[in-house]
Amino acid sequence: MSVLVWIEQTPDGPVSSSWELAGKGRELADALDGKLVALVMGAETSAAAAAAQAHGFDTVYTITDPALANYRLSAYAAGLKQAVTAGGATVVLAAATNFGRELTAYGACQLGAGLAADAVDLRVEGGKLVAVRSVYSNNILVDIVFETPVQVASVRPRSFPLLEASASGGEITALDLGLAEDDIPEKVLESKVTAGSEVSLTDASVVVSGGRGVASDPEKGFALVTELADVLDAAVGASRAAVDAGYIPYKHQVGQTGKVVRPDLYIAVGISGAIQHLAGMGGSKVIVAINKDSEAPIFEKANYGIVGDLYEVLPALTVAFQERLG
């Protein structure tokens, strides 16, 4: 019996929320009286495997193969299956990134296992995983109970604290992919996956978002939002109205039809606070609203607010934080 965590690699290194699963996975493995096992796949695996070791996994499986240079579902699913068998895994976890969600879903179906997609909490009950999911666009919570011997979950980033590396690692074991290039039907013709200097929205502990309130001068408005975000080391978000108006690309959209974020601090600038926006950021720890309309619904959700013009408030706030954060 073991808990297996897929450590996804990106051009910037392993997906950071993998280390949340290192911490939570340990708790689950202890409750199940089993081992905590990592799986690293790629054309190169040594650095990520060493990082997994340093995060306390008992065993780190590596599958190193040129065919794994780009993520491809059928190849990665085959690798996942190898590791589940090798490790006798009954619980399989991955961060709920695009690839993580896809791989866990397809992999679970292939393994005849139940799936909890985008889970926000995990525990063990009666020798099995129980996963908490947020459904109806964050308006209902459910416990997912499993009826299958193998239980699979993708886990929303920022659901658990990050485990610090402590360099107390287990062994690294190499597995074979067991597939030749010709066995893999998908071909990646072009990949424009860039190492990001931008802080990722879903991983960010601070998010500053702009809305239609910047309409009178969108360029300046989002420049001011970005300046504040830079000082706070924050990611930049947006409302759908701002995205639809073309002020900023869709990948920044927060809300029901955008990204769900749960930062420690969310600053909503010129955003009214529509239900569909709240669905994407309502779980933030501290919410701050800057809006010139004191009646804006966002103030009903916010912990702090300034009623005022964002073009005046943002520069002042950026200066105030610069003074305090150095």
Partner: protein, 258 residues
């Protein structure tokens, strides 16, 4: 060649906050039911592909016997046919049971080369059903697709959105494709389309017709509303903008969130 579009009927998003735990438990949600907004993109893409490649289209939806409004919306947009898969004999079907039934229904349509789906349902929120359909059919799976570049000679080439960028991928047909919002702008049904849809006869397939049974691997337990944290907003006052900003920065620093 035919394209199957998977359509779910879901509550109007503006009414989601009103949905109670009891309603979800009983499965009898008291809200205006519409086509899952993400599935409009799948239906639109089927119509565009029909124009490009001359493929016919059929919309499939699994739900209770009266869940035909979403299918009518797809018909009104221009989708050729619609079939309802009656879920009443399948209990609290999880995504794998739903996938098994929809996969069987896809096969029933004959010559389907491509299944299009939305990115996720606004009630179930799994973004996983399509993975189950691809897995049960043994077809290629391409998710989060922003553009269908080409289709033919047994292959489909797409651009898909991935974390941190985009990639162009080719996979063999038949395939299951979930579409991203970047792919198109769904059209509004025309007046003529709505009239046609209202007169359409929507055949119903049962679990028995499809030879599927409940293979659910998971169950929903302890269905509840998230705890509502009552917040009382502190509006920062001050004589100048600079003073307000300074006070706000102090308050945020005191929260120890940065």
């Amino acid at each position: 060649m035919k394209i199957a579009v998977l359509i779910k009927q879901t509550p109007d998003t503006a009414e989601l906050p009103k949905v109670s735990a009891e309603e979800v438990k009983s499965g009898d949600v008291n809200a205006t039911m519409v086509i899952n907004p993400w599935d409009e993109y799948a239906a639109e893409e089927a119509l565009l592909l029909d124009d490009r490649f001359g493929a016919g289209s059929v919309a499939l939806s699994m739900g209770s016997e009266d869940a035909t409004d979403a299918l009518k919306h797809a018909l009104a947009m221009g989708i050729g046919e619609a079939v309802l898969i009656d879920s009443s004999a399948l209990g609290d079907a999880d995504m794998w049971t739903t996938a098994a039934a929809l996969a069987a229904a896809v096969k029933e349509q004959g010559d389907v080369e491509l299944v299009l789906t939305g990115k996720q349902s606004v009630d179930g929120n799994s973004g996983a059903l399509f993975a189950g359909v691809a897995c049960k059919l043994g077809w290629s799976l391409l998710t989060n697709v922003a553009k269908i570049v080409d289709m033919g000679d047994g292959f489909i080439t797409v651009e898909r959105m991935v974390d941190g960028g985009q990639e162009t991928v080719q996979a063999p047909l038949p395939a299951v494709v979930s579409v991203a919002k970047e792919i198109n702008d769904p059209r509004y049904p025309s007046f003529m389309g709505i009239r046609k849809a209202n007169r359409a006869n929507i055949p119903v397939l049962t679990a028995a017709d499809l030879g599927v049974s409940d293979v659910s691997a998971t169950e929903w337990a302890n269905i509840r509303k998230p705890e509502q944290v009552e917040t009382e907003v502190v509006i920062i006052e001050g004589d100048s903008v600079a003073e307000k900003a300074a006070k706000l920065a102090d308050a945020i620093m005191a929260e120890k969130v940065i």
